[in-house]
Symmetry: D3
Subunit: 282 residues, 6 copies
C-alpha cells in the first residue's frame, strides 16, 4: 500500500495518545560562536537510528515495548533568537500540558533554556542535572545575553542557587568556575558524585540536559568545540541505573554536529544515548 513517508527515531511510532514521551527536534545553532552545524543533528539522528537495534543489552529493555511519539522538527528562524526560543518553549509546554515528557534533540545548547522554562512553569521545584564539558555560566558572550555559552547562567537566573548539578565539566573561564563554586553544584571531569546527587533528588522533578561534548572527543569528535579529557561510553552506561531512579520530567540531548565526524560514529553514539535514555526513563 502506498503511504506517505513518515520518519521517526527507530521504533518511536506510537500515536500521540498512547505515548508517554514525545520527541522533537530543535534544529538551531545561530549563536554558536565556533563551528556551527548542530542544526542538522535531529535529522541525522533519526536517519542513523535505523542502524541501531531496538534492544539494549545494557538494560535488557527494548524500544518495541515502550511508547514514544516523534513529532518531528520545529522550523526555527535563524535570524531571530527571540522567535526561535519562543517556538521551542511553546512546543515543550504543549507536550507538558498533555502530561507527557518532552525529549528534545538540539541544536546548540541554548535550546535548553526555553525547554527548562516550560518545565519550571509546570514544576516550580524543578532542578537541573547537566552533563557537559563546559560550565555555560558566562553572563554574556560577545555582548549577547542569550548564547550557547550563557545558557546555564540564564537558567540560574530563575532557578536560583543550588538547583543546578553539573557533571563532567572541564572548560570555562576562571570566573565561571568561581560562579559555580558559589551557586551551582559542579563536578569536574567525570560523573563522579552522581550517586549522591541522585540519592538526594529522588522525589524532585528533574530536567536532564546532556551536552554530548561531555564525551571525550575520541568517542565523540562530532561537536563544535571538542574538549579532550571527557567521559567514555561505558561511564555513561553506568550512570543509567542512577538516572532511571530519578523523576525526569523533561530532557534533551544536544550539540551533535554530524558533518564534523564523517565516519558516522558520533551520530551513532548520539543515537545510542537517545535509545538508552528512552529506555531508562520509561
Amino acid at each position: 500500500m502506498l503511504q506517505p513517508n513518515v520518519e521517526t527515531f527507530i521504533a518511536c511510532d506510537a500515536s500521540l495518545e498512547e505515548a508517554s514521551t514525545v520527541l522533537f527536534g530543535a534544529p538551531y545553532d545561530s549563536t554558536t560562536s565556533y563551528r556551527p552545524g548542530t542544526r542538522f543533528a535531529s535529522k541525522a539522528i533519526r536517519g542513523e537510528s535505523f542502524g541501531l537495534e531496538t534492544y539494549s543489552p545494557y538494560q535488557d529493555k527494548d524500544l518495541e515495548d515502550i511508547k514514544v511519539f516523534d513529532s518531528g522538527d520545529l522550523e526555527l528562524s535563524f535570524g531571530r533568537v527571540d522567535l526561535a526560543l519562543a517556538d521551542i518553549r511553546k512546543r515543550a509546554a504543549e507536550i507538558l500540558a498533555l502530561n507527557k515528557r518532552p525529549f528534545m534533540i538540539g541544536g546548540e545548547h541554548l535550546v535548553t533554556l526555553p525547554a527548562v522554562e516550560a518545565a519550571f512553569e509546570k514544576y516550580p521545584d524543578l532542578q537541573v542535572i547537566q552533563f557537559d564539558a563546559h560550565t555555560d555560566l558566562r553572563d554574556d558572550y560577545l555582548d549577547a545575553k542569550l548564547s550557547h555559552a550563557t545558557v546555564i547562567r540564564r537558567i540560574h537566573d530563575f532557578l536560583g542557587d543550588g538547583k543546578i548539578h553539573q557533571f563532567g565539566i572541564r572548560s570555562g573561564e576562571r570566573a565561571e568556575f568561581q560562579f559555580a563554586k558559589a551557586h551551582t553544584n559542579l563536578h569536574k571531569y567525570s560523573l563522579a558524585g552522581l550517586k549522591e546527587t541522585v540519592a538526594a533528588l529522588k522525589d524532585t522533578p528533574i530536567y536532564l540536559t546532556i551536552d554530548l561534548d561531555v564525551f571525550d572527543p575520541a568517542a565523540f569528535p562530532g561537536t563544535g568545540t571538542p574538549e579532550a579529557g571527557g567521559i567514555f561510553f561505558m561511564e555513561f552506561i553506568e550512570s543509567l541505573k542512577l538516572l532511571s531512579q530519578l523523576n525526569i520530567v523533561a530532557l534533551d540531548v544536544n550539540e551533535l554536529s554530524p558533518a564534523l565526524d564523517q565516519s558516522g560514529a558520533s551520530t551513532a553514539l548520539a543515537c545510542k544515548v537517545v535509545r538508552e535514555l528512552l529506555l531508562a526513563i520509561n
Copy 2:
C-alpha cells in the same frame, strides 16, 4: 499541533488521489562493482530538496502548482537480488495501475530494469530514452546476468531492437559499442540528436532513465564511477523543452552516491534534476 514527521521531496505533499506523479525511492546498490553508496541517494535528495526553491526560472513553473505524492522508500533485501527487483516491480506496477506516473529515485542503475518491465507490461509499445555515461550493455558481469552493468542489455532482451535511445555515452567495452551499433540508437558524449529522437517519438509511451553519471564529474562528482567528459547542467536544462514534448509514462533518476561528494553539490544538482523533470512532465 503535534504531528507525525512526514518527509517528502519539497512540495510533493499532495494526497495520493490528487497526484498525477508518484515518487518512490529504490535504495539498492548491491551489484555495484566499484564504489557503492547509491542506496543513500533517495534519503539525501529528500533532505537536501529543502535547500531548493520550488520555482524554476528555467521553465517558469512552480512545484506548488503541480500535484505529486511521495510514497517514501522501499525496504529492499541486500542479500537477494531477485526479491529486491520483484519489490520494485510491484511498486511501479501499483502506481501505473492507478493511472499515475511512477518517478523512481535509485539506487544503482539495475533498479531501472523492474520499473521498465512494469511499464512495458502496461505499454507494449514502450521505448526507452537513457542519459548515461555507460552503455550498460554487457551480457553478464562477473558471471552475473543482473547487474548495474547489464541493465540496458536485459531491457533490450524484451524490448528488442531500435527501442532504446542512448545519449551521453562515453564508456563501455568494445563489444558493447558494437552491440549498440546493431541494436540500439547510441549517441556519444552529449545530448546531440535528442531533437530528432523526440520528433520521432512524440506519440510513443516513453520510459526516461537518467543515470546521473551522464554529467561531467566536474558538475557531479558524487557517483561511483565518474567518467570525465560528460554534459554540464545547462545542456540538461536545454533538453527539458524537448523532454516536455514526450509522453513520458514512467521515469527514474539514479546513481547519486551522496557520501562521495561531501560538498553537497552533487546532491543539490540531483535535486534540481528531479525538480526540473517534475515540472517538465506535469
Copy 3:
C-alpha cells in the same frame, strides 16, 4: 629579528596611510538558513592566498605594485544581528571617511547591507552591481527581516528602483523574480548584459557585491547553497576589463564556506577573485 606574526592577504602589507584600498573580514553567518560556515572564509582566504602568485597574467598587473592595507577581521556577535551589522557599518564608514575604498570579505551575504548603507551615506547616487545565483529579494525569511535571503530587498528599501543590477541569477521564489521585473535590473544565468550596464554607469559610484555562488558549483562547490548552472572562471575574467572601467567605491566578496570543499579549490578560486578585483580597481 623576532617580530609579531602579522597575517594579511598576500602582498597587502601597505601601511594604512599609503593604502588606497582597505581589506577587512566580516566573519558572520548567523542567519544562514542551510549549511553555515562562511564565518571561516576571511581567515581561510588570507591563509590560502600565499599559494597564489602576486602577478596576474590576465591583467598583466602585480599586487606588488599597488597599495592595500589589510585590517583583519571584525569580532562580531553571533547572538545579536543588530550589533553585528552595526559593527560592520562602523568599519566601512571609518574606511570611507579616510577616503579609501573598503573591500570586505564575508561572511554570508547579509554583511553587504551595512556596508552598502555606509557607502550610500557618503555617495547618495550609489548604485549596486550584484553577481549572484540568488535574487536575495525576499521581504522576510522565516519571519526575519534581516537575512541572507532578504539582503538585496533591504538595500532596495533605501536605494529605490532601478539602482540594483543583478547578474547570474538562477534561483529564487516566483515572487522574487516578479519583484525584480518591477524594481531591479535582473540578468539571468550569466554576465550577459554587463557591457551595457557598465557603459551606462561609468560616472556613477558603484558598490560591487560578489556572492561567489554565482559560480557554477563545478568550479566553486564550497558554498552553502550550491546552484547548478552558474558561470565559470573565464567568464569572470572577461568581466574584469568592464569592471575596471567603473567607479567602484566599495566592494565585497562573500559566501565562501571553506570547509565544504576540502580540496581547497573553492578557497583558491576565491583568492583569485580577490586578487583580480584588487588589480582591476587599483
Copy 4:
C-alpha cells in the same frame, strides 16, 4: 632491474612452498545493509602496511623471521552471493589442502561462512572464537538467509551447540541474545572470559574470526555500524598471549571500511591486528 609490481602485506613475501600461512583478500560487501565499503579493506591494508614496522615490541617478534605468502584478492561477483561464497570456500580449501593456514581479510562478515565451512570439512571437531560487537545470530535478515547479520547463525547450523565462543558482544536483537544463551558461549562487552575459554580449548582446532567492530569506535571508526562501548587496542594486545596458545587452523579479520575513516587510523589499527596475529600464530 625492472620487475613486475608485486604487492603484499609488508614482509609477507615468502614463496608459497615455504609459507606456513597464506593471506588472501575477500573483497565482498554485497549484503551489507547499512554503509558498504569493506570491499576496499584488503587493498587498503596491504598499502597501509608499509607504514608499519615489521617488529612487534609487544611480542618481541618480527615478520622478517616468519614465512607468509600473500596470494592477493579473489575477484568476487557482486551480483551473485552463491558464486562469491563458493569462490571463497574454494580458496580456503585449496590452502588447507596444502597443509597451510588460511588467513582471510574481509570484506563483510559473511565471508567467514565459506571459510569456516572449508575448515570444518578438514577439522570436524572445529570450534569458532569470534571477537565482535554483534551477535550475528539472526535467522534471516530482510528475507535473506545469507547475510552479514546471519553469518554466525549459519555457522551454528552445522557446527552445533557449544562450539561458538563470542566475545565483546554489545549489539543484537533480543531474540539473538536469547538464542546465544541457549546455543553459544556469549561474553558481553569485553574479552573477559577468554582465559578460561582458551584453557578449555587448547587441543581443539580453532577458527578465529575478528570482526574489527569489536573495537570501540573511538579506536576504530572505520566500519559500517560503529557500536560505542567496545574494546581498546591494549585489551587486544593482552589477548595475544592467550591466542598464541591455541591451535588456530584458519582465521580472518573483517569489516574494515577504509573510506569511513579518512585519517587512516582505522586502517593502521587493522594492519597492526594482522601483524600481531601473524606473529602470535607463527
Copy 5:
C-alpha cells in the same frame, strides 16, 4: 591457482620483452611548497584504473591490443633530493637503453627533470612539450635550485632556447613570464597553438610532460595548487589526435594528489589521461 599479487595499471601486464612502453611510478613530493601528497598518485592510479574500461571510444582503440609493462614504483629517499633524482634518472635511462619508451607517473613536477635528462642523453635533439598551469620557470625557490617551481628552468639550462613548448599556462611570477617570452614558446590558458607546434615538430624526439593542474580545478581538484581557469577533459581529448602524430620518446603525468579529492573523480580523470596517452602513442 595461488599466485603472488601483481598490481599493474589495468591491462598493462605484458612482459618486459614484448612491451614497447614501460610504466613506472616516482612517488616523490619532498620539495612541494604548499599541499603535499602527490607521492600517493601512482599507487592510487593503479588501484583506480580497474574502474576504467580498457576500450577508448574516443580513439576506438583498446589497451588489450597494446603491450605495456608496469615496473612499479621506485623507492625514493625523502630526505635527499639528489639521491631521489639520481634514482629516477637511472630508471628512465635503463628503459631507454632497452629501446623502450618510459612513461613515468609522478610525484611532483620536479621528477620530470631527471627523466628529461635521461632522454636528452639519448636524443640530443630532444624537445619538450609541457601541459601545465604554471610556468615552473623560477631560477630558485626559497633558496633551492631543485624544486617543483624551477623544474622547467633547470631543463632549459641544458636544453636551451626554443626547445620548450608550454601550453595552458596561467600562473607564475612576472619574471617567469618575461623569461618565457625570451626563451620558451609559451601559450597561455589553453592548448591553442598545439596544432602548429605539432606540425613543426613531427620528426623531432619529444618528451611530453603533463602537469595535471593544467586541467581546470572543476574537473581536477585533486592537486596541491589548483588554478582556476584551466582546460576541460574534451579539450584534452581533442589534442590526442595531434599528440599521436608526434615522435614521443618519453613522457610523464604528474601532480595528482589523490587525498585532496575524496570523491575519486580526480584520480579517475588521471587514469583516463594515462589510458588515452598509452593508446595515442602506441
Copy 6:
C-alpha cells in the same frame, strides 16, 4: 581603530621584552616518509586556539596571567634540509640568547634536532625528555641521515649515553629497541617511570619534546603514522605536575597533521597540550 592583523596563539600577546617564553612555528615536513602535512600545524594551532578558554581547571592557572610572545612561523626551504635546519637553529639560539625559553611548534619531528643543538650549546649538561610513539633511533632512513625517523639518534650522537629519556614508545625496528637498551632510557607504551626520571633530573636543564603521536589515535588521529595503543589525555594531564618541577629550558610539540582529522579534535587537543605546557613551565 584600524590595526594590522596580528595572529598569535590565544593570549600570547606579550611584548618580546616582557615575555619569558617565545613561541615559534617550524612548518617543515619534507623528510616525512608517509603522509605529510605537519607543515600546516602551527598555523592551524594558532587559529584553533581561539576555541580554547585561557583558563585551565586542571592547573587552576590562566594564560592571561603569564607572558608569552608569539614570533610566528619561520619560512623554511622545502628543497634544502640543511638550510631549513640552520634557520630553525638560528631562531632557537636567538631566543636563548635573550634568556628566554623557546617553545617550537613543528612540523615533523626532525625540527627538534636543531633546537636541541641550540639548547645544548648553551646548556652542556642538557638532557632530553621525549614523549613519542616511535624510538626515532634509526641510523639512517632510505639513505638519509637527517630524517624524522633518525632524529633522536642524531641527538644521541652529540648528547651521548643516558641523557635521553623516552616515554610512550611502541613502534620501531628491532635494532632501534636494542640500541635504546644500550644507550637511552626507554619506557614502553605509557608515561610510567616519569616520576622517577623527574626526581633524578630536578636540577638538570631539560629539553622536552612531545611528538603528539604518543597519544592514542583514538584521541589524536591527526598524525601521519598513527600508532594504536598510546596514552589518553588524562594521562598527559597527570604528568603536568611532574613536568612543572623540571627546569625545562626549551621545548617543542610536533607531528600534528591537521588535515588528517577533519573533525578538528586533534588540532584542539594539540592546542590544549600547548596551553597546559605554557601554564606548567611559567
